[in-house]
Structures are given as structure tokens and as C-alpha cells.
Amino acid sequence: MPILSLQNVVKEYLTDGLAVQALAGVTLDVNGGEFVALVGRSGCGKSTLLNLAGAMDFPTAGVVQIGGASTSALGDAELTKLRRDKVGFVFQSFQLLHTLTAIENIELPLLLSGRNNAREAAYERLRWVELDGLADRFPHQLSGGQMQRVAIARALVHSPKILLADEPTGNLDTATGSVILHLLRRLTREQKTATIMATHSLEAANLCNTLVQLRDGRIVEVTRR
């Protein structure tokens, strides 16, 4: 069974009273260990798809299932629990809390879900992203690549089934971006996570198992390698 399943998903937004369709009947299944790249022009619906996949938003029509549970059927508390357990997010602009150190940022999702041994798990994830010595640094003491690694470690700290990355290399130089992409691919393989990444980068797309091309809110092509 796929960990993430989207069936005929439609998403409409109201902008100044006019309905704008961001997704128009998207169907997609993603399995554990699969590294999916969403590509397409700006406004084609990549971020909307990620938000729906992360249970941060609800479809206007169709069904989004995470681990077999339809997000539309869940209340706020259940959605929160679903995210805590099954979803990790990586953002283009890292979104680290500047008041927390690297290790504190990483352990935050575990603390929010009230789990024990958060610090140990956080240190382990820090090792995964090869930043062992920088645990006590604040975000402004890290480079862009290091910040994104911390963000990835944070996204994986609760061993999510789904990792959603929105332009993870968008704010990085090519070399650093490449390192991050390889890291994501390695972790996807090792952790059997379903990683879905929205990207403009050809290099990023080429590293993925599955390439999903979007245009005007529709999937125009799915290439599995």
C-alpha cells in the first residue's frame, strides 16, 4: 500500500472572490523509499500538492490519504498527530528558529509531541547530516548549507514516513545544493522514507526515482526510473 495516495485531487482558492484552481484532478501514489521530484513552472501547483501531502491543507475535491487515513476525515487534533508521526518538512528558506541552537531546533518536533529521549534522537540525526560538532551553534552561526542540513535533520527526527521538501536547494549555491540533494537521496534510501521534493533544478530532478511533471495544476507526465 502506498504511504501517500492522492486520488483525483482538486484544490481551488478564492482570490478576490474569484475561484482559482491550483490542482485539477491530480492522482499520485508514493511508496516508502521513493524519491519523487515535482517539477514545473512557478504556479503550476507544486507547493499546493506538498501542502496537501503534508496534511497542512485539505482538497476541495478528491481524496488525500496518508498511511491509509484520509486527511479530509480528520479533525485538527488528529491532523496534528498525523503530522507529528508521519510527516517531515524541509523549506527553501530553512525556517530554523533563530532563538534555538541547532540541536534544540532538531529536537523541537519531538518535544512538541512530548516524546522521551528527544536529545539522543536529535544527536543521532545530526550525525546523519554530518554536523556532529555544531550542535550548540545558533542558526546565524551556520552556513546556508549547514542550516539546510539542520532543517533536514529536524524533518527526520521523528522518523516520518513522508518527507516533503519545497525547493530545498533554492537558497544554496550549486555545490552546496548538490551535497544537500545527495544527502536527501541517501537518507530516503536508508530510512525508507517517501521523499517528495518540489524543485526547478534539473540536477535535483535527475537524482530522483520518480519525476512528476506538473502544468496548470495537472500531472502531465510521470517518469519512474
Binding site: S47, N51, G54, M56, D57, D76, A77, T80, R83, R84, F89, F91, Q95, L97, H98, T99, L100, E104, L108, P109, L111, L112, S113, G114, P139, H140, G144, M147, R154, H158
Partner: protein, 851 residues
């Protein structure tokens, strides 16, 4: 015009994007200004009333002749026989109580035969024919009857109506013979013929005041000297209204302290304006960069931020006008009661919102706003366009120099401690106020370090105790250090004032209670009925006094007589004690520490006095000094043999032996009686007998316990306005916390949205904001308590002492402080509810991906 338009678009319009926060800031300023305005308006109304009846009805005279215990009628003879073209108008002046309404009004005895018609035409602004007729139609016979009175129209009486008056301890059924116009009710008085008034007051052969009208264009001083020469030494010739002036002077310290107390809310409001502008500067840093790049000068930026502050100030000031007027209506009642209890007979005058009041409000509102914003506006001015537009990895946060500020705080605190030891300036504790301001400033500078150390030290502990929300909250407060510090400073200032005034009032209350235990040795105390006031001393008839003294079971009766006299340009109460009636257990607290019997024994038949502490403080006197007192027609020297602690009146007491007083002022009627019951006799039986003996007389009888309860009631009422002022300041500060938390939520919306992405529930977001509110409250309570303690030392030992001359013993009112701090803390946490709700409602998708 175009500049105004740009100012509106860039500075004013964004304010309306956060209507709740804008409203809270404007309301905070409005409340701060309104309190100052209310105290000013109420003070004018309460103090202005001295001028009302006695002085308005005195007419356009130039000089007044007064003497302690009254001016002998022989003086009138002397004056009338002088070859001068003077208009001489004798007056009897006292108070009467209207039995039906219990209203106390001035009772004025006027020589109607000489000046009746002159009064009617001179005092009425535009007297009608019928009003003039009312006076002129009354016959001399009617006038001289002690039951004929003339009243102001505000009493709603008509000619021929009956009115029952209580004068001293006796009741009079009077007939209204005429009504004079009294539209505002402020000139309301009971008028009698002077001879009738003498009979009613049982004061024969003397008048209370003689008014003198000089020929046109006379030299006042020259006439003052001329008249003094021909009159006995004890008679004082002075410009008319000197008594009123003395009263105003006496009230100055009271009004001054109340006015300064009203500035607390304004200071708290200033902190909040500082906070609002600070947020504005931080948020608009990027915009500042853009407009600077587009051609705006540094001066434009400075003016823009000062203009924004001025807008907040103007809006607050305009709103403060109706608020201040409303608050003044409540304040004036409390102030008038206090003035009457502690200083002088008074009736509140009308509250007048004049052009001056509007100017005052606008000046304070705009002034405080601009002063609060000036350093921030300068900071904004210094922003370089390149730095401001560059989006660094780390968001811009206002700079805070913790160590430098801590050093400044230490210097200010030391300076404050030094300044607090300086003496009063012209009777005002100016250095005490400066010390207070220095300590408040020291605290404000020390707070960033306190917040930083508290947050970093307790972050992990809070994480363990409260959960991750505690950790995040403490980190967040430390991260936005300047904003947090300003908030903590504003709330802690309000709390400090609350704590310090609480300690001062609590100490004062306890001191008074201890003092009363020592001061009330008798079983019963009697005084004439009517509302008591510090400057009114109605008398008890001699017959009744004798009757009570003879009641079986009454061991002894102490007859106390009091007069209002003037010493060195200030009113003071001269009182006598019956040394023969004193018991050995009568205890007074003298500065020398000597036993009471020994001290009072020295008063016996000697030109010696003991004086109260406030009297010595006002006049810079001490035991061993000699004072000259005008008594009756004489002026004699008296040695101060000791000084005693006294909290009954701020005007001060001079106490002498009754026999000594009788030598100068031979009126034996007492003002009060202290009755001692024979040992082993049931006091209640004696009380019943006293009540029986006093049947028909208007006398109130109190046990020592009643008197203590009554005194504490008056004490608490006196300080009610103080509590009200503090409550407004705390309310303003709590509102500021709510507003600031709201802006904190809006500024941190991306972070809060991110937390939702990371798995935070709505409950956790709400809890986070409430924990932040709780931490702010805790820090403010801690800082406020410490600052409040030091301020209380200045209030008790410097400001109170230098203003009023009272020695107050320090006392911790633990229950009151605990209760007040708990309420403030709860209010601070509750103020986070709305911001927390706003935080929960944020859409994480929008806020994380914006920008």
C-alpha cells in the same frame, strides 16, 4: 500636501492594519493623560471651594481683621471712632447643619442693619426686583431673631419656609426670610443677622472677622500698618482672603503629591508608546531602506517617526478629555472628603473643562509621545539604506547593550540614594521625587540584563516544568530583548508604584492604629453632631458638660477646647487640655521619651506648650524653642517643652494647659469631652445616663473603639483615590502587555506557523503565548517588587516626612501586597488570551510561505 500624503501612506495607514493594537496604545495614552487631567480638574474643584461661600459673600473688601478666639467688639468701637473714611463690616462665621439633609453649610452673621441692602445689591449678579424686596421688606425685628435666616436659592427654599438647623449642640427651628441667587450652589450659606448669630453660637462680645473697605486707590500696606497701630497686639490686620490663601498654601503639598501620583499612569503610558514606536522602527527597517534609497533624507525619517508618535499622542489626548472629565467627577468627591477631614472645610466646586485643560491634555499627550519616541526615531534615522534593504540570514533585532545599561543602572541607583538624603526645597520634597525618578530609570536600565539572565538561566528548567512551551517562551523573550525589557519595565514601574504606595499606606495605617491605642485612654468621647472637619470646632454647652460631670459613675471629664489660629502664615489648631482631669495612665508619645505626666506637668499654669510633629516640621521648630502666639487681644511668648507624635491632622497642633488658655481666651465651653468612668462601674450604664442627660442636645458619643473604627474608615477613604490612581496605572500596563503580545504574535507569525508544520497543536500555540505572558508578569512582579521596596523607603522616610512632617514606622502589609501582586499577575496572564487566540487562528501555510 504631498509630504503629508506620503506620511499618511507610510506611517499612519499601516497603524490601522492592526486596529486592536492601535486602540490599546491610544487608550493607554488616553488613560495616562486622563488621570493627570482628572486630578488637575478635581484638585481645582476641591480646593477652589474655599473661595466659595465665606469669601464670595464677604464682598469686595480690602483688609480683614482677625484674632485668635475672635475679635473683641471693643475693637469695632476703636475702628468706628477712627477719623478714616473706612467701611467696617463685622462678621460671625461658623457652620450650621441642616437637620433634614445633614448638609453642613457656612453660617454667616452679617450686620443687616448696616449693610443688608448693600449686600443684596452687591452679591447678586443681577438681582431681580423680588429678591431685593425679600431683603428690604424684612423688618429689623425679624432680622434680630435667631430664628430668621436667609438662604441661597440652591437649597430650594422659599420665603416663609421652615428649616431646622443644628448650631453647635443645639437645634434651631428657623424661618427663611429671604432667598439670594446661588445658581451653582457654591455660594450657598445660611445668613443671619450678626446679633442673632452671636446668640445662636453663644459667642457674645466677639466677632469672628472684621472686613474693611478702604477708600479708592489706597495703599494697602500703609493702611495695614496704620490700623495695626491703633489695635491691641493680638489683633491681626491682613489683606482680605489671607485665610483662604493660607489654606491653599497648606493644601499645596497634598495636591502636589496627588498630582505626582497621577503621573505614574502617564509614565507607564510613555513606556508603551516607546514600545509601539520601537516595533514600528523594527518592522519598517526594510521600508526605511527603500525610502532612503528613493531620496528621503535622514531628517525625513526622523520626522516621520516623531510624527507617528505625535499622532498617537494627539489621538490619546483627544480621547483623554471626556475620560478625564468623567474621572474628575469621581475624584473630586474623594478629594473633597479628604480635604475636609485633614485640612479645611470645603465643598467641591464645579468641574470646569477649560481651554487650559484642553491645552494641558494635548501638551502632555503629544509631549510624552515625542519624548518617548525620540531615541527610536534617531535610531531609525541612522539606518543605512544598503543595510536595511539587504535581507540577512538573521532578522534585524533592536540592539540592547546589557552590560553598559547595567552600569548606567548602578550609577543611577547610587545617585538616587544620594539625592534622597537631600533636604526639602521650599517645603517640597523635590529631591525625593528626583530620587524616585532616578530609581525608576535605574530599574529600567537594569531590566534587560535581568530578562536576559532570567531567560537563559531558567529556559531549561521551564522546559522541564512546563514543557517545550516554557523553553520556547523563555528563548523568545530573550531573543526580543528590547521589546521584552520595555514591557517588563512598564509593568514593573506600575507594580513598583503599587507596592511602594501599598507599603507606605500600610505603614501609615499601622502607625496610626498603634498611635490611637495610646491616644484614646478615656471610655467615651463626645462632640457636637454634624460632619467633622479639621478646622471646625463647634462647642458643647457648659450646662451639659456640668451635667455629665455629675453623673454617678463618671470619674472625671476632660474638657478639650480648640481654636483655629494662624501661626507664621499657616493655619494651626490651638487646643487646651484639662490637666486636672488627666489620669496617670494617659500616655502620649513624646520625642523626648519622657513620661506624659512629667511633660504635661510642666504645662501647668506656665507659658509653655507641647506641639505636634507636623507643626514643628512646617515651621522648623524643636523642643526648647519659643514661639509667639496671638491670643485674644494679646500676643505672648510660649516655650515648646516637648514635641509629640500626632496623626490627627496635617495642619498641626499647639497644646496648652486649659487654665493658661482661659487667661487669654476666657470662653469655658469645650469643643470635645473625654469621659472617664469610675473603675468597676459598667461603662454601658454610664453611657445610657450620658445619652439621657444629653437628650435635646445634638451630641454624638463614641467609645474609644468607635473612634478608632471611625478614624480608620476616614483613613481608608483618604487613600481610596491613591488606590484608584494605582489601579489605572496597572490597568494601562496590563493593556500594554496585551498589545505587545499581540504585536509579538504578528511579528512571529512565521515562527508560529512553522511550529504548526513541526507538529505543534493549537493548544500548544495558545499555551506558548500564555506562558510568555506569565513570564512577562513574573519578571515584572519581581522587578516591581524590588523597585517598589526601595521606592517605599523614599516615600515613607523622605517624601512623606518632607511633605507632611509625619514619622511613619515601616510595616509590611503582607496580605495587601500578596493580594495585589496576585491580581496583577493573573491580569497579565489573562491579557495573553486574545493574542493567544490570534496566534491559534494564524494560517500556517500563509505565514510560512509569505515574504
Amino acid at each position: 500636501m504631498s509630504r503629508l500624503s506620503i506620511f499618511y501612506r507610510l506611517m499612519v495607514r499601516p497603524l490601522f492594519h492592526e486596529p486592536v493594537r492601535l486602540s490599546l496604545t491610544v487608550l493607554a495614552v488616553a488613560l495616562g493623560v486622563a488621570v493627570v487631567l482628572a486630578i488637575d480638574l478635581a484638585g481645582n474643584a476641591a480646593a477652589g471651594s474655599f473661595h466659595s461661600s465665606m469669601e464670595t459673600l464677604a464682598g469686595d473688601n480690602d483688609l480683614e481683621i482677625v484674632a485668635s478666639g475672635g475679635v473683641p467688639e471693643s475693637v469695632l468701637g476703636t475702628l468706628f471712632t477712627q477719623p478714616y473714611p473706612l467701611r467696617i463690616s463685622p462678621r460671625m462665621e461658623d457652620y450650621a447643619v441642616i437637620a433634614e439633609t445633614k448638609q453642613t453649610l457656612p453660617l454667616i452673621g452679617v450686620d443687616f442693619i448696616a449693610e443688608g441692602s448693600r449686600y443684596a445689591t452687591a452679591q447678586a449678579a443681577e438681582p431681580t426686583k423680588s429678591q431685593q424686596q425679600n431683603v428690604t421688606e424684612n423688618s429689623i425685628r425679624q432680622m434680630e431673631a435667631p430664628t430668621s435666616v436667609w438662604v441661597g436659592s440652591s437649597l430650594n427654599k422659599s420665603t416663609g419656609d421652615q428649616i431646622e438647623l443644628i448650631i453647635n449642640d443645639r437645634s434651631f427651628h428657623c424661618t427663611v426670610r429671604g432667598v439670594y441667587p446661588d445658581a451653582s450652589g457654591n455660594e450657598s450659606a445660611i445668613l443671619m443677622d450678626i446679633a442673632a448669630a452671636q446668640r445662636a453660637l453663644q459667642r457674645f462680645g466677639r466677632v469672628d472677622r472684621v472686613l474693611v473697605k478702604l477708600p479708592p486707590e489706597s495703599n494697602l500696606q500703609k493702611w495695614q500698618q496704620e490700623l495695626s497701630k491703633v489695635l491691641p497686639a493680638g489683633i491681626d490686620v491682613r489683606p482680605q482672603g489671607t485665610g483662604t490663601h493660607e489654606n491653599r498654601k497648606m493644601l499645596a503639598a497634598f495636591r502636589w503629591n496627588l498630582r505626582l501620583l497621577s503621573y505614574i499612569a502617564l509614565v507607564v503610558g510613555a513606556f508603551l508608546i516607546f514600545n509601539t514606536i520601537s516595533i514600528s522602527v523594527v518592522r519598517r527597517r526594510h521600508e526605511i531602506g527603500i525610502v532612503r534609497a528613493l531620496g528621503a533624507t535622514r531628517a525625513n525619517v526622523l520626522l516621520a517617526f516623531l510624527g507617528e508618535a505625535a499622532c498617537l499622542g494627539i489621538a490619546g489626548a483627544i480621547l483623554s478629555l471626556p475620560l478625564g472629565r468623567l474621572m474628575a467627577a469621581g475624584a473630586v468627591k474623594l478629594m473633597a472628603l479628604t480635604v475636609e477631614a485633614l485640612y479645611v472645610s470645603s465643598r467641591p466646586g464645579p468641574i470646569e473643562l477649560s481651554a487650559w485643560s484642553v491645552t494641558l491634555a494635548l501638551s502632555i499627550g503629544v509631549g510624552v509621545a515625542i519624548i518617548s519616541a525620540i531615541s527610536l526615531a534617531r535610531e531609525a534615522m541612522e539606518v543605512s539604506p544598503v543595510d536595511a534593504m539587504a535581507r540577512g540570514r538573521r532578522e534585524y533585532t533592536a540592539r540592547v547593550h546589557k552590560r553598559r545599561d547595567l552600569l548606567i543602572a548602578a550609577v543611577l541607583a547610587v545617585l538616587g540614594a544620594f539625592v534622597a538624603r537631600m533636604p526639602a526645597v521650599a517645603g517640597r520634597p523635590l529631591f525625593g521625587y528626583v530620587a524616585t525618578l532616578l530609581l525608576v530609570a535605574a530599574s529600567a536600565f537594569a531590566i534587560p540584563a535581568l530578562v536576559y539572565f532570567f531567560s537563559t538561566l531558567t529556559g531549561k528548567l521551564l522546559g522541564k516544568l512546563i514543557g517545550v512551551e516554557g523553553l520556547l517562551a523563555s528563548h523568545s523573550l530573550a531573543a526580543s530583548l528590547r521589546r521584552t525589557s520595555v514591557l517588563v519595565a512598564s509593568l514593573s514601574t506600575a507594580i513598583a508604584m503599587m507596592v511602594s504606595v501599598g507599603i507606605m499606606v500600610g505603614s501609615f495605617r499601622q502607625t496610626v492604629m498603634n498611635w490611637m491605642t495610646n491616644q484614646l485612654p478615656a471610655d467615651f468621647y463626645l462632640r457636637p453632631a454634624g460632619n467633622p472637619a479639621s478646622d471646625r470646632h463647634p462647642t458643647i454647652s457648659l450646662e451639659l458638660t456640668e451635667k455629665i460631670a455629675k453623673i454617678p459613675g463618671v470619674a472625671t471629664v476632660d474638657r478639650l477646647r480648640a481654636y483655629e489660629i494662624s501661626y507664621d502664615g499657616m493655619p494651626v489648631t490651638l487646643a487646651s487640655v484639662d490637666l486636672r482631669a488627666l489620669r496617670s495612665d494617659h500616655y502620649s508619645d513624646f520625642f523626648s521619651g519622657r513620661p506624659t505626666d512629667q511633660v504635661l506637668g510642666e504645662l501647668r499654669n506656665a507659658n509653655a506648650v507641647v506641639v505636634s510633629e507636623p507643626f514643628t516640621y512646617k515651621h522648623h521648630l524643636k523642643a526648647g524653642d519659643t514661639i509667639t502666639l496671638p491670643l485674644g487681644e494679646s500676643r505672648d511668648r510660649f516655650k515648646i517643652i516637648d514635641v509629640y507624635y500626632d496623626y490627627a491632622s496635617e495642619r498641626g497642633y499647639i497644646l496648652m494647659d486649659r487654665d493658661t488658655m482661659m487667661r487669654y481666651l476666657p470662653d469655658p465651653t469645650p469643643s470635645n469631652l473625654a469621659v472617664f468612668v469610675t473603675p468597676h462601674v459598667n461603662p454601658q450604664e454610664v453611657r445610657a445616663k450620658i445619652i439621657g442627660a444629653a437628650a435635646g442636645s445634638h451630641i454624638l458619643i463614641f467609645s474609644d473603639r468607635d473612634l478608632r473604627t471611625e478614624a480608620i474608615r476616614i483613613f481608608d477613604r483618604t487613600f481610596a483615590i491613591t488606590y484608584a490612581l494605582e489601579a489605572v496605572a496597572v490597568f494601562v500596563a496590563v493593556m500594554g502587555i496585551a498589545g505587545a503580545l499581540l504585536s509579538l504574535v504578528i511579528d512571529r507569525r512565521r515562527e508560529l506557523g512553522l511550529l504548526r508544520f513541526l507538529g505543534a497543536s493549537a493548544y500548544q500555540i495558545r499555551k506558548l503565548i500564555l506562558v510568555e505572558a506569565g513570564l512577562l508578569g513574573l519578571l515584572a512582579n519581581l522587578a516591581g517588587f524590588v523597585l517598589g521596596y526601595f521606592l517605599s523607603l523614599i516615600l515613607v522616610f523622605v517624601i512623606n516626612k518632607q511633605s507632611f512632617g509625619w514619622t511613619i514606622r515601616f510595616h509590611w502589609p503582607v496580605a495587601v501586597l500578596l493580594g495585589a501582586l496576585t491580581v496583577v499577575y493573573a491580569a497579565t496572564v489573562l491579557s495573553g488570551l486574545y493574542p493567544a487566540q490570534v496566534a491559534v487562528r494564524l494560517n500556517p501555510l500563509e505565514v510560512v510561505h509569505e515574504d
